[in-house]
């Protein structure tokens, strides 16, 4: 049994990265993720690992680019405004197919408090070029710890950046975490890493580019050859990596859909509803891209209605509607349902329960 400790969500990210063999952190301070960068500043240099405080989030993401290109596992973290600055870098990392992990501790637009306002930006590829990146949505400090490790594994497996989508509540909350090192299985050799020719097989030159398809390479003689390969990779990820968790969906007439900390609010509301005899279930997407559409489509075909709860103005609901294909009703509880109309406000289980009762 692994050691169990009390950790803040932001610090759990650090311990998770360490367990995954992460070699470098590059970041810039921004509330509410400051504990992440401070953790790495404290824990990495003394272990002989790399820590650089960049001069901006644009700097962080490009340092991440450099670190990832060496084939080492590297990570950065930021919050929403910094995430906006990282979009160009995300596009480049996706084109260059470099694995790395980005932890996004969301905050609500220009507040410093919790929200889920970056859903569309992380799932739809917020930069240029039409890329997608795997998005993991933890709901607890334990999952922040685990998903840091899973993120590195999936990144290496598919040669893609992976986003771990946290937020101010998950990042600041302290919870018990079991420090378990996860083993996901073997990974392909990184025969593309840029470490100097002497380190390469047969001394052959390695080349990494953010303009794959522009300069012809043996793998991609032209632009469409690259696009075809990239599309195939996205299709494979969509087919294999969609993850979700279900609660009491088998007999449910109404299924709640929520991710991140809101999933815990929804779960509480669901439990209270069940106590009242209402047939309510919950689907919690764990990967936001690829989105677990199959389970939602399956339940929609069986006639269940859907209630999406998200702490923004309604972003994930689009993915749910796409999965449902108009078969059943999809309703929304958004950030306007917060108990106070200010940044400290939160969606409470009782608000969700009141809405649930309207369906029965």
């Amino acid at each position: 049994m692994a050691e169990r400790v009390l950790l803040q969500g932001n610090e759990a990210v650090g311990w998770g990265a360490l367990a995954a063999g992460c070699e470098g952190f590059f970041g810039y301070p921004i509330t509410p993720q400051n504990e992440v960068i401070e953790w790495f500043a404290r824990e990495f240099p003394k272990r002989g690992k790399v820590f650089i405080q960049s001069a901006s989030e644009t700097g962080s993401i490009n340092m991440l680019h450099g670190g990832a290109a060496t084939g080492s596992r590297v990570i950065t973290s930021t919050s929403s405004p910094g995430w906006a600055l990282m979009q160009e870098g995300m596009s480049n990392l996706s084109n260059a197919e470099l694995p790395c992990v980005i932890v996004l501790v969301q905050r609500g637009w220009n507040t410093t408090r919790h929200a889920q306002t970056d859903y569309t930006s992380v799932t739809q590829g917020g930069g240029y070029g039409g890329y997608k990146t795997i998005v993991l949505a933890p709901k607890s400090a334990q999952e922040l710890y685990d998903f840091a490790q899973l993120g590195f594994y999936l990144g290496d497996k598919y040669r893609t950046p992976v986003i771990v989508l946290s937020d101010a509540i998950l990042g600041q909350m302290m919870e018990s975490v079991e420090l378990r090192t996860l083993d996901f299985g073997p990974l392909p050799e990184k025969d593309w890493s840029i470490r100097g020719k002497a380190n390469n097989k047969n001394g052959e030159r390695h080349f990494s580019s953010i303009a794959q398809g522009m300069l012809p390479t043996p793998r991609h003689p032209n632009l469409c050859a690259f696009w075809a390969d990239y599309k195939e990779k996205l299709d494979t990820i969509e087919k294999n990596e969609a993850r979700h968790e279900t609660y009491e969906v088998d007999d449910a007439d109404l299924i709640l859909v929520a991710f991140g900390y809101v999933a815990r609010v929804a779960q509480e509301a669901m439990i209270r509803a069940r106590k009242k005899g209402l047939k309510v279930g919950l689907i919690r997407p764990i990967t936001l891209w690829p989105f677990p559409s199959e389970i939602i489509k399956d339940k929609a075909e069986k006639g269940a209605r859907f209630l999406v709860i998200e702490d923004n103005m309604g972003q994930m609901i689009k993915d749910v509607e796409l999965a449902v294909q108009g078969r059943v009703q999809v309703s929304l509880i958004n950030a306007l349902a917060r108990h106070l109309p200010i940044e400290e406000g939160a969606i409470y289980p009782r608000t969700v329960l009141e809405k649930i009762e309207e369906f029965f």
Partner: protein, 252 residues
């Protein structure tokens, strides 16, 4: 009598089946050949990593036979800083940039890499305008210079050119800063010496090293190759004097 090769295409220059995008009289390739020779002569082929930004010189990323990486416009110094720290002191990490790349969009990474005293070498080609995009104003355009975005000549409204080597050289974390040009074989020799010194500073782990290389851009200057060499000597060198600006063996 037998013939023996003496001078020409450097050993580390890769022959690729592409027509190079260099206009007649453009000296980007001269700079890249000087880099190939420098790396070869210092025996750094196996442990060098070339980080290349975006501009006409981006071709350097496929022309030099060392591991290389093409990155975002303006960001080579960020990428190189991370690579050097991860690969360790035995690696040689070189950035290859233009004046816009290093001084305009990439001013932040360049200055901060220098300030952090990253053990990397930055080579910046300065041709006084944005060549790839058709000759617009650059941070290094001289006063009065006509570009497509300063049709009546650069004046106070656009401000003044940045003297990068002096500016970078003024930072404490910098071990070496120099400016060269290829206006004559003698200057070719000197510029190559600057480049080799910069690489040696990195190998010795002293600090950030920087070499600015003045280059012609005949197509966008609307001059013949020969006249552009003349302009380089008469208009650019007075603004950007050649020579070593900083050269220290230790930074305390």
């Amino acid at each position: 009598m037998e013939r023996e090769w003496t001078t020409g295409t450097p050993r580390l220059w890769r022959h690729i089946p592409l027509i190079l995008p260099f206009c007649p009289g453009c000296q980007h390739a001269t700079a890249i050949r000087a880099l190939c020779e420098s790396i070869d002569e210092l025996d750094m082929e196996g442990n060098s990593v070339l980080v290349v930004g975006v501009g006409c010189y981006t071709m350097a990323s496929v022309l030099v036979d060392v591991d290389s990486i093409m990155v975002a416009h303006g960001r080579p110094c960020d990428v190189a800083s991370a690579m050097k720290r991860i690969l360790g002191k035995d690696s040689i990490v070189i950035t290859w940039q233009g004046d816009g790349d290093a001084l305009a969009i990439g001013c932040e990474p360049t200055i901060h890499a220098a300030a952090r005293s990253e053990k990397i070498s930055t080579f910046m080609i300065n041709n006084g305008n944005y060549g790839t995009t058709g000759g617009q104003l650059a941070p290094t355009s001289v006063m009065g210079q006509v570009t497509t975005t300063t049709p009546t000549g650069r004046n106070q409204d656009q401000g003044y050119p940045i003297e990068a080597s002096e500016f970078i050289g003024s930072l404490k974390g910098v071990a070496y800063s120099a400016r060269g040009a290829f206006t004559s074989p003698a200057n070719y020799k000197k510029t190559k010496k600057y480049m080799k010194t910069a690489l040696q500073k990195q190998r010795d782990g002293v600090g950030f090293s920087f070499v600015e290389i003045l280059s012609t851009c005949p197509a966008n200057w609307h001059l013949s190759p020969r006249d552009s060499l003349k302009r380089l000597e008469e208009e650019m060198i007075p603004q950007f004097p050649l020579g070593e600006i900083k050269n220290v063996d230790t930074i305390e």
